[in-house]
Structure formats: C-alpha cells, structure tokens
C-alpha cells in the first residue's frame, strides 16, 4: 500500500517539476540572455517540489 501511496504522491510532484521546466524552457527560448537567472529560479522551484515527493518517499519507507 505504501508503494501505491508514494506513486500517487509523485504524480503531483511530476506535474510540478514539469511545469517548472516548461516555464524555464519557454522563457529561455524567448529571452536567452536571462538564462542564468532563470536557471537559479528553476532549480529552486524544483527543489521545493522535489521535497514534497521525498516526504512521500520517506513516509512510505518509515511508516509501515
């Protein structure tokens, strides 16, 4: 059950990181000169989203 729960939780995180990458690539295509600044924001956003997925992972592992 824990594995299924983790899979469900990861859906949201996947959509989140996908959206972040989408915004990053679109903005870079429009304005390549701000790529450096955008990348920091992208990495930060991904770190926040990824943390949620990892919380699901840890809960699935620790809580039996």
């Amino acid at each position: 059950m824990g594995v299924i729960g983790y899979g469900l939780g990861v859906i949201g995180a996947g959509i989140g990181i996908g959206l972040a990458a989408y915004g990053y690539t679109t903005a870079t295509a429009r304005q390549p000169e701000v790529q450096g600044q955008l990348f920091t924001g992208f990495i930060l956003g991904s770190a926040f989203v990824e943390a949620l997925a990892l919380i699901g992972f840890v809960v699935a592992l620790v809580v039996k």
Binding site: L44, A47, F48, A51, L54, I55, F57, V58, L61, V62
Partner: protein
C-alpha cells in the same frame, strides 16, 4: 536465484540502520552516529573559517585557491542570500544567515563522503536548526513592530472585520507550518537521498554475488547488470552533491525570506 527477492529484506535492514543509535550514553542524552558527524562538521567548519581568516589577513590581495574559494562562498552568501532579499538591513542579519548556511552546507557535504553520515540526516538536528531560525525571525519581527504590533502585522491591513480574523488565523497557522516544513524538507532530502544511494549500492552487490560462487552465463549477465547499477549510482551521487548544496541554499534563503516578511512594514 533472483537478486530482487533478497532486496526487500535487505532494504528493511537498511532503513533500520538509518535510525539513530547511540554509541555513547543513550538516546535521551548521548552521542548518536548523526550527532557525532555533526560535531565533526562543526570542527571542520571552525578550522576552515579560522584558517581562512588567518590566511586572508596575511596579504591584502586574496591569494591562492583556498582564500579565493572561501571568499566566493562568503560573497555568494552576502549577495544571493542576504542583499538580494533583505535589502538595506542585510548587515544586521548576515552573521546569523551565514552561520545557518555554512553549518547546513558543511553537514550535507560531510554526509556525502562515503562512510560518513550527514548531521542533517536526522530529524533532531534539522528540527533544532529550524527552531533557531523560527525564534530568530519572530524575535526580529517583535523588535521591529513590538509584540502586539507583530501579532497584528500577521494579518494584512485594510480588510473588513470578520474576514480579518479569519485571515489572521490562517497566517498564524502558516507561520507555524514554516517551522515544520523547514525541518522536514531538509531531513527528507538528506534521508531519502542516502537511502536511494544505499539501495543502488545494495543492488550492485546483490547482482555481483552469483559471479563469486561460480562462472555461468546467468552469473555473467547479472554482473553486467551490476555494472549498470554502479553507473546509475555514480549519477545519483553527483545529483546528491548538487542537492546538498541546493538544500543548504534553500534553507538559508527561506530563513532570510521569513526574516524579511517579519520585518516588512505592510503586513
């Protein structure tokens, strides 16, 4: 024998080995493997900082990789964590935020080295740092607005009476949630990263085991898979180095943002 059958039991053992065990004293008052490596990290950090200060004072122009590298780190903290978020009052908060950043960063980096454990890989350590940060930004808010003023400044101004109260309640709730999310985010990143790395190294060892017992076509095929697991492990290891730096940055930056919110004039 299929190596995946053994894996489930091995992973249970692995996760058990990640829970804190005290080797001096007991769990209430003692040194666990995590706090031991935390002390190591603190010592390493202090040695680095003092060596840096001494070397930097030796000449007016920074010379050598070490001094320049440390200066880059400090300047990164100053520009990206303090100046860009806090604005003109950054100087007051710089010592605290730089301490947070460097402490978390050293802990994470120390934990990446094989055989060592991150001090931040245990919920106790991260909760303690998060509490420090939480108390710090509340105290800063109270200093700026006064106790009652800070309580009032949680709710935005210019909202009608009954909704005002509701917004205030939600804001109080989200302020308390900051404490939990700060601690859990860092802990989960460190813990999960290390569990994943350990799982892949387990897979690599489990798949190479049949080749040790005797050479056969199946054993050689599994050894090939083992090489693949090692390749994935190396990639994950590189990603974990990145995560260690990013999580330290995120922790310090969020603390800085919270201080900025607590000190801002418009509620």
């Amino acid at each position: 024998m299929n190596p995946f059958d053994v894996l489930t039991n091995e992973i249970d053992e692995l996760v058990d080995s990640f829970s804190s065990t005290a080797f001096v004293g007991d769990l209430n008052m003692g040194v666990t493997q995590y706090s031991f490596w935390m002390f190591v990290a603190v010592v390493v950090l202090l040695v680095l900082i003092f060596a840096f200060v001494k070397k930097q004072q030796a000449s007016l122009v920074p010379q050598g990789r070490f001094v320049n590298g440390m200066e880059f780190l400090i300047e990164f903290t100053r520009d990206n964590i303090c100046k860009s978020i806090l604005g003109p009052t950054w100087k007051k908060h710089f010592p605290f935020l730089a301490t947070l950043f460097l402490f978390v960063l050293t802990n994470n980096i120390i934990g990446i080295i094989p055989g060592m454990r991150p001090g931040t890989g245990c919920i106790g350590t991260t909760a303690a740092i998060a509490c420090v940060s939480f108390v710090y930004f509340i105290v800063m808010g109270i200093r700026k607005h006064g106790a009652w003023g800070y309580v009032k400044s949680l709710a935005p101004k210019g909202v009608m009476f009954p909704i005002n109260l509701l917004v205030w309640l939600i804001e109080v709730f989200s302020t308390i949630l900051r404490l939990i999310t700060l601690a859990v985010r860092l802990f989960c990143n460190m813990f999960a990263g290390h569990v994943v790395m350990a799982t892949f190294s387990l897979l690599a060892t489990l798949f190479i085991a049949p080749l040790m017992q005797g050479v056969s076509a199946v054993a050689i095929g599994q050894a090939g898979a083992s090489v693949m697991w090692v390749a994935i492990l190396i990639i994950i290891y590189l990603v974990e180095i990145l995560v260690a730096a990013i999580q330290a940055y995120v922790f310090a930056m969020l603390s800085s943002v919270y201080v900025q919110i607590a000190e801002s004039d418009e509620g």
